[in-house]
Amino acid sequence: MKHTISLGALLFALWVLLSGHLEPLLLGFGVLSVIFSLYIARRMDVVDHESHPIHLTFKLLKFWLVLGKKIFQANIDVTLRILGFKAVEPQLIKLKMDQTTDLGKAMYANSITLTPGSASIHMEEGELYVHTISRQGAQDLFDGDIADIIPHDKTSSDTGANQ
């Protein structure tokens, strides 16, 4: 239930921010469409801790900051490689995933993809196939460069049921 409420609040905030009008009529339309979206989301059974990880809010903020820094560095690296100042040496590697939850895995794989210079290709039984543009980048991934910053997803009870 708390996920539904928080999603509803988020959707309504989005409506107000995008429309920018505060007349009762338009706000009423907003409430109606939020309720409708919530109804559909509930029916699709997608409102849960996975699509809407409120228990991670503060950890996520730090995660985005650190990831942002990494993305910045990786961008410069890839730019240099495209322009030919550094060599392009593609690598195909296999990473072990320590994350147990689906959310953790998705965050790990997507963080790798989001960092230019490394892209996750395939996922198989706790292993992630990654294509990197440089040997150094591959080594960094082996050393747990990205894995360390993924927030730990400790929703013990309901995650176990979900698996």
Binding site: L17, V78, E89, P90, Q91, L92, P116, A119, V130
Partner: protein
């Protein structure tokens, strides 16, 4: 005045990154390598351009819209890239110039 200069710097940086990414689409010789070029244009390039534009408006609805555009791009691009790469992999496309099977660690004396 100072915001104008900052906007100029950020927008031109973003455009440069975009152009480099576009160049990378042609310089890199393999689908998987091109993914990284697109990664550059999807992340830092759009961030710079949108941030530069946001500086022009101060804090207003427009800034929030720019932020939302950036967030949408940020959330959708890795999902799109991953499903694209995963499809290519399962279809049977293999990257050029790499070990044909993924390695799980580098040997010190390899290659």
């Amino acid at each position: 005045m100072i915001t104008d200069i900052l906007t100029g710097v950020f927008v031109s940086l973003g455009c440069t990154l975009g152009l480099i990414g576009g160049l990378g689409m042609h310089r890199l010789d393999d689908f998987y390598a091109r993914l990284h070029a697109v990664g550059v244009t999807d992340t830092l390039c759009s961030f710079f351009i949108l941030f530069g534009l946001a500086l022009q408006t101060g804090l207003s609805f427009v800034t929030i819209k720019l932020l939302l555009i950036f967030l949408f791009l940020l959330f959708t691009s890795p999902a799109a890239s991953f499903s694209l790469a995963n499809n290519a992999w399962q279809w049977g496309l293999r990257p050029k110039g790499t070990n044909s099977e993924p390695v799980s660690s580098f040997n010190k004396d390899a290659s």
